[in-house]
């Protein structure tokens, strides 16, 4: 029986898409809005993350497209046969955006577990933007022009 799965989470944020993308498009800020990721460093197309449980993982950044506002990365490691994560920031109108975080993975269980974390991350992203309070929005305020793509 196949153990591959594709799981999607989404959130609507009452902020313009370009503002939301200003965080999502900066891979070095991930730990500031993804609960359970404590550290994050980026070197070229490689991102190393450390989870709250102490587990370290390496990701390869595949897409960071500020025009489509699409960010993709792939985790590698012994737990995964395959992995692809895709974050799309879609403009709904001038004041709101739809953020979709898709996780494709084998084994299937990992897709569900990672999607659970992604859903919590989207909730935190919305909270920070809609309250204007939080480390990720603070980071882009303090260095608004920095781009990683």
């Amino acid at each position: 029986m196949s153990t591959r799965a594709s799981v999607r989470r989404h959130v609507i944020i009452e902020r313009p898409a370009h503002e939301v993308w200003s965080v999502v498009g900066r891979p070095e800020l991930l730990h500031l809005w993804f609960p359970g990721i404590d550290e994050c460093t980026v070197d070229g197309d490689q991102r190393d993350i450390t989870l709250a449980t102490g587990v370290s993982m390496t990701e390869r950044i595949l897409t960071n497209d500020p025009v489509q506002r699409r960010f993709q990365y792939a985790l590698s490691g012994p737990l995964f046969h395959e992995h692809l994560a895709t974050i799309d920031v879609i403009e709904l109108d001038t004041t709101s955006s739809l953020v979709v975080y898709a996780t494709d993975a084998a084994p299937a269980t990992m897709a569900l577990v990672l999607a659970g974390g992604a859903g919590a991350a989207l909730d935190e992203l919305r909270r920070q933007f809609e309250s204007s309070v939080g480390p990720a929005v603070d980071a882009v305020r303090s260095s608004p022009t920095r781009r990683s793509s």
């Binding site: 029986m1 989470r9 993804f34 989870l51 449980t53 084994p107 999607a115 659970g116």
Partner: protein, 522 residues
């Protein structure tokens, strides 16, 4: 000084596993004695037949559609109402020792308190409550947690890793390399989730739960009132009790359960009369949930495998009974014997060979739905022993704890305190008991709604990817206790069916507008 509450749960235990309920394999003298001195319920029904929703119902006194935990893997919100919190605010000392499972186990991001506590070497945490205040996590000032086996981040796993690390691998690996429920067989018959575990009894999680409960009780002041939820992970699969204890029951001597049709043709004819998901799972063409091994086909289950699983389950039930006996003795040694209410139950049952099936799933029949429930009121309360035949639900536990403590049930509790006898049940005009199933697994969706009204159990299917909403089940337990004859489409039961469905829909009320997403498989 008021009455104290020892709330004892097991995990996945059948009604007929206790001697007081007619069980003849396991010896359960401790619970049998509590039943003889107290109140034994003959039809206690869970509001969900899987762990997280059912346990959330116990704690909140709410149905799954209210507390929102519609399946394993959906965490109970941290600020959900908690009956333990009500007692704690009223001055009770509170603890949960053993299996909590209000939050998912598979938690690589460390997002859930239950997992985080042991990792940080803690037994308490302060968290927000539903009323805007803060207090101990879910109302428990002391949490020492365990689950099946010794992997994961909980206190028992940490204790075993620190004290007897060699024993970790002796347990059955509940998940396989793909993190799916493991289908690997073992023992003498190759039954799934069976392993000979060389662990000594006093390192096993059943005795650990009792030991830690006694340690917490011993630390209390004599005059304290307390509520202790002692939660054994067994007899849930995997079936890997200490091998030295397997001498108690030789599986070759275990009779096949009445619910196991030995002839394959007969078995399949019974399944074919039920909604399609029964036969599809049996044949291995449908896996709708994470509660059984993905790669195991029930049609391959042999009679000997049923015997071996049931023997191991009986051994686990005996160990629990003896562990409970030790805790009761510790209470007596503290001078509390007359003031402790003991409530013994479980979160859901186990098919354990019924219809040729094992484990659990969307199958609302007695194997999963008829639970052991015994309430031995504190002797000082002078409640007469009784047997209650009227249906009750686990949703009734939270208001019962309030009643014991002399508190009014809270408005958010949806059940009513357990009746002390049938007359009490009838005089309070208790409503029907409902049970729900909702599962989503990578494009497969199954939804069941069930009403239990005395001797009648009726299940409707909601439209999903498997059902079109027209199939259902109706069993008349008075003349079909094994639920082999599905009368849902029997014209002579049409009026009864329509009446039950009307009652069911009235009891359920509106469906939730939105379900919270799954966070993990379990």
């Amino acid at each position: 000084m008021g009455r104290k509450v020892l709330f004892v749960t097991t995990d996945q235990q059948r009604y007929d596993s206790l001697g007081c309920n007619g069980g003849a394999i396991a010896r359960t003298p401790v619970v049998d004695r509590l039943a003889a001195e107290g109140i034994r319920y003959q039809r206690a029904v869970p509001q969900s037949v899987v762990c997280m929703p059912s346990r959330s119902t116990m704690l909140t006194g709410q149905h799954p559609r209210t507390h929102g935990v519609w399946m394993n893997g959906v965490p109970l919100p941290v600020d959900a109402p908690s009956a333990a919190g009500v007692l704690q605010r009223a001055g009770y000392r509170t603890a949960l020792v053993g299996k909590a499972h209000f939050e998912p186990y598979i938690d690589p991001f460390g997002r859930f308190t239950e997992n985080t506590l042991a990792r940080q070497g803690l037994t308490s945490a302060t968290r927000p409550w539903h009323d805007g205040s803060t207090g101990p996590h879910r109302g428990f000032e002391h949490l020492e947690l365990a689950t099946h086996g010794a992997t994961g981040q909980l206190h028992y796993a940490r204790w075993l890793a620190d004290t007897h690390p060699e024993a970790i691998a002796w347990y059955y690996a509940t998940l396989d390399r793909d993190l799916e429920v493991n289908s690997e067989g073992g023992g003498d018959t190759g039954a799934p989730q069976v392993k000979d575990n060389p662990i000594p009894r006093d390192w096993y999680h059943t005795d650990w739960v009792a030991d830690r409960t006694i340690a917490w009780l011993d630390a209390l002041d004599e005059g304290d009132d307390w509520f202790c939820w002692m939660s054994f992970p067994d007899p849930h699969h995997p079936w890997d009790p200490p091998v030295e204890e397997m001498r108690r029951v030789d599986w070759r001597d275990v009779p096949l359960p009445a619910g196991y049709p030995e002839e394959r043709e007969r078995r399949e004819a019974i399944l074919d009369a039920k909604p399609r998901h029964w036969r599809q799972w049996y044949d291995g063409t449908l896996v709708s949930n994470f509660e059984a091994p993905l790669n195991w086909v029930p049609a391959t289950l042999t009679a000997d495998q049923v015997r071996e699983v049931n023997a191991r389950t009986a051994v686990e039930c005996e160990l629990i009974d003896e562990a409970l006996g030790r805790v009761l003795a510790a209470c007596a040694a503290r001078g509390w014997a007359d003031d402790v209410d003991v409530i013994f139950t479980t979160d859901h049952g186990e098919l354990q060979g019924d219809f040729g099936l094992l484990f659990k799933g969307p199958y609302h029949v007695d194997g999963l739905m008829r639970l052991p429930l015994v309430w031995r009121p504190a002797p000082s309360a002078e409640v007469a022993p009784a047997v209650v035949s009227r249906p009750v639900g686990l949703v009734d536990l939270a208001p019962t704890w309030c009643r014991i403590a002399g508190l009014d049930p809270r408005p958010w509790m949806e059940g009513t305190a357990l009746p002390v006898d049938d007359h009490d049940a009838d005089s309070r005009h208790r409503g029907p008991v409902v049970t729900e199933w909702d599962s989503e697994r990578f494009g497969v969706e199954v939804r069941l709604r069930t009403i239990t009204r005395q001797d009648l159990v009726c299940t409707i299917t909601e439209p999903g990817t498997v059902h079109d909403g027209t199939e259902g089940e109706l069993y008349d337990l008075a003349d079909d206790p094994l639920q082999r004859v599905n009368r849902f489409d029997d014209p002579s039961y049409r009026g009864i069916r329509d009446d039950l469905v009307t009652d069911l829909l009235d009891a359920l009320g509106p469906s939730p507008r939105q379900r919270r997403p799954l966070q993990a498989p379990v």
